[in-house]
């Protein structure tokens, strides 16, 4: 051939530039301001903490196979459940959906190039990692045994464990939540694409907005409570210590003023995910869009008014208890509205059972059980009976794991093709979803029964008649553990070997599906404009790839 006609190689012909391949090297990740890369930094970090926290749970369940305790000393057992709680709540569940999926999706869903404050966004990840470092320090140097609630005066005066670094770690991590919430609120208010009105936004954004309100208004109160606890322990002053004139209930009020809304920080984002998945896999517009959106905001507002239901048996007045009980029942209303609307969306839909939908259906059932058992605990008289038993443990795990983790995994499967540009193996994903559902129920349903029969939580020993149910629970936990490992493996596998996903593998509505997978660095090749409502599946020309 002629050497004169050297054809210049077509640049970028094979793979178009996207946020993953636009730059390489560790600097391009650790100093990135791209919300999508920060989401992946968070994904790696929270996955690490999820398996650390899970390891503590495994040790606990092994220990509880034997009524006398099979594995560890009682002091160590106290540390196990404390570290499990601290790590799972503050370092996995709270950042899970907001910081990973929210970070990735909020700008994409509203048609923006990035969040309003990209540098703050990166800072929030560094703050999270710093807080995590303090907490890991406390783990390595012997752990904490106060329970994740840090009740005074035990935590301030008597505990001989690493309370200070753990409390500081949570204090610091709180600021990463605050920055994330601030970023989301401003972004949703000010960065929406032309035509993206409030009532055209995907419901995931409504739930992110409601969650952000709690981040911004709740987290600082926990911060000040832990800050005071820290000062109290360091300087031996007595704001919460009765011997020095302080009031231990004040700590509980401040703590639950954040930590009850924190429950909604964990569940609201999952509800947002479910509101995306259900219409997509039913091929129907969502039933009652506005009501679902406003119910998210209602949950956020009510969440600040119910903290006293954690303190029914602490000696607060009976009238306070009555009011908190009534307000707690009111939270059930917006939660039930969501469940009814998702169910109504399913009605006469053409449902397909892909993995995200399996998680969504699992969520609806398990969240309903977790929510309804919450009503037992919102009633004063039954709460006196059930408080401090395994009934509580089962109840909040149905919300936190059956709800929040199911929602998180459903969302990860649903948006994984967008995040990675690859499809995960569907067969394995459905199998894992089934294993997780079975393992979860086998782990936690026996705990409802144990609690009802009167087995107290947080004890390293138990009477022999409870052994059967405890062994069932431990067996379930081992199944659950396998279920969680499978997605870790096939997600990693699919990054390299999964089939190319294309921009919209689910035939879903929403701006995030109208840009290539993975999205380019600035999210959209053309500035998007919106002319339709969300979830317009009825009129959609379904172009399945």
């Amino acid at each position: 051939m002629s050497t004169a006609t050297t054809v210049a190689p077509e640049p970028r012909a094979a793979t178009p530039l996207n946020y993953l391949n636009v730059e390489y090297g560790w600097r391009s990740w650790l100093f990135t301001k791209d919300h999508k890369r920060i989401a992946l930094l968070y994904l790696i970090s929270i996955t690490f903490y999820f398996f650390i926290g899970g390891a503590f749970a495994v040790l606990m369940r092994i220990h509880l196979i034997d009524p006398q305790g099979a594995l560890v000393q009682p002091e160590t057992y106290n540390k196990l459940f404390t570290m499990h709680g601290i790590i799972m709540i503050f370092f996995f569940l709270i950042p899970s959906i907001p910081s990973v999926l929210g970070n990735f999706l909020v700008p994409l869903m509203i048609g923006a190039r990035d969040l309003a404050f990209p540098r703050l966004n990166l800072l929030s990840w560094y703050i999270y990692m710093l807080g995590g470092a303090f907490t890991m320090y406390s783990v390595i140097h012997g752990g904490v045994d106060t329970g994740w609630t840090f009740y005074t005066p035990y935590s301030s005066t008597y505990a001989n464990s690493q309370v200070i670094p753990a409390a500081l770690g949570i204090f610091i991590t709180g600021f990463s939540s605050i920055l994330t919430g601030l970023n989301f609120i401003v972004t949703i208010h000010k960065m929406r694409a032309p035509g993206m009105t409030w009532f055209r936004m995907p419901l995931f954004l409504w739930s992110m907005y409601a969650t952000s309100i709690i981040f911004v208004l709740g987290t600082p109160v926990l911060a000040i409570a832990l800050f005071l606890l820290f000062l109290e322990r360091v300087f031996q002053v007595g704001i919460f210590t009765p011997a020095l004139g302080g009031d231990p209930l004040l700590f509980q009020h401040l703590f639950w003023f954040y930590s009850h809304p924190a429950v909604y920080i964990m569940i609201l984002p999952a509800m947002g995910v479910i509101s995306e998945i259900v219409p997509c896999f039913s091929r129907k517009r969502i039933f009652g869009y506005k009501v679902i959106g406003f119910s998210s905001v209602a949950i956020a507002v009510l969440s600040f008014l119910v903290w006293g239901h954690h303190m029914f048996v602490t000696g607060q007045s009976i009238y306070t208890g009555l009011v908190f009980s009534a307000l707690s029942f009111m939270v059930a209303i917006p939660s039930a509205i969501k469940v009814f609307n998702w169910t109504a969306t399913l009605y006469k839909g053409s449902i397909s059972y892909d993995a995200p939908m399996l998680y969504a259906l699992g969520f609806i059932g398990l969240f309903t059980m977790g929510g309804l058992t919450g009503l037992f605990l919102a009633s004063l008289s039954t709460d006196v009976q059930l408080n401090g038993t395994y009934f509580i443990v089962a109840h909040f795990h149905y919300i936190m794991v059956g709800g929040a983790v199911m929602g998180y995994l459903g969302g990860m499967h649903y948006w994984w093709p967008k995040i990675s540009g690859r499809l995960y193996p569907e067969i394995w994903a459905r199998l894992a979803a089934a294993i997780i559902f079975v393992g979860f129920n086998l782990t936690f349903f026996p705990q409802f029964m144990l609690g009802y029969l009167g087995m107290p939580r947080r004890y390293a020993f138990y009477p022999a008649e409870f052994q059967f149910l405890n062994v069932m629970s431990s067996a379930g936990a081992s199944i659950l553990g396998v279920g969680y490992l499978i997605p870790l493996i096939y997600f990693a596998w699919s990054m390299r070997y999964g089939p190319i996903a294309g921009p919209n593998p689910w035939g879903a509505t929403g701006l995030e599906w109208q840009t290539p997978s993975p999205p380019p660095k600035d999210n959209f090749e053309q500035p998007p404009a919106v002319a339709d409502e969300a979830y317009d599946y009825a009129h959609q020309e379904v172009g399945l790839v």
Binding site: P107, R113, P220, I224, V237, I239
Partner: protein
């Protein structure tokens, strides 16, 4: 996007226009201030509870504080808010010299406040009413505190140091922010189209001022004297 590099208006890549950028910045700082209100709110709640429970001790301890220094500091801080407000105006009208002068004045007043506060802290050490580190009041101070109970008086001083200390920390952060603004002002960065950093820092400074407006009566005035 051609206006992005024209003039002195910086538009970050995620924004469409300078208006959008300005509105995002202002909304952001307001949300941050809401967070701060809740942060201090926990302390105010604790203080209110204990003042209600241990009124005689809190009233007696409040009288130990130097009301004249507190009042002078209030005036100093209010004046600094005034110069801060003027400096936002100076930034809008692109008066570089006036802006620099006003920022320096604001910083000076802030420093005076911290100096007086530091002197008050020193007095507390002299009177031995620093919780945990040096709480052993003697003589006249002891006689005034003893009727309400020393333990609860110590609780008052806990709140006094936590609240004013956290406030002082916010002042120090504010001084740092003002210093950065001063450098940028000397570089003529601000004009009618771009003054958001001055405005945002100003809002923060006013917020810190308002916290003090609540701290001064709560700690120095009510219960103890009026």
């Amino acid at each position: 996007m051609s206006e992005a590099h024209s003039g002195r208006i910086h538009i970050a890549h995620q924004f469409e226009s300078s208006d959008q950028q300005h509105e995002a910045g202002t909304l952001g700082i307001w949300i941050f201030l809401a967070t701060e209100v809740m942060f201090f709110g926990g302390l105010f709640t604790g203080y209110a509870l204990d003042r209600w429970l241990y009124y005689p001790a809190f009233a007696a301890a409040s009288r130990i504080l130097d009301i004249r220094l507190g009042a002078i500091n209030t005036a100093v801080l209010l004046t600094s808010s005034f110069t801060m407000a003027l400096s936002v105006r100076a930034a809008q009208t692109a008066k570089r010299g006036a802006l620099a002068l006003l920022l320096i004045l604001t910083m000076l007043l802030g420093a005076v406040f911290l100096g007086i506060k530091g002197f008050e802290y020193y007095q507390k050490f002299v009177e031995h009413v620093v919780p945990s580190l040096d709480f052993a009041p003697q003589g006249e101070v002891l006689a005034r505190l003893a009727p309400g109970g020393l333990g609860h008086a110590q609780l008052f001083f806990c709140f006094y140091f936590f609240m004013t200390g956290l406030h002082a920390l916010h002042m120090i952060v504010g001084l740092g922010l003002l210093f950065v603004l001063l450098l940028r002002a000397l570089g003529s960065e601000f004009n009618a189209g771009y003054y958001a950093p001055v405005e945002v820092t100003g809002l923060y400074w006013h917020f810190v001022d308002i916290i003090w407006i609540f701290l001064f009566p709560l700690l120095y005035l009510i219960g103890g004297r009026f």
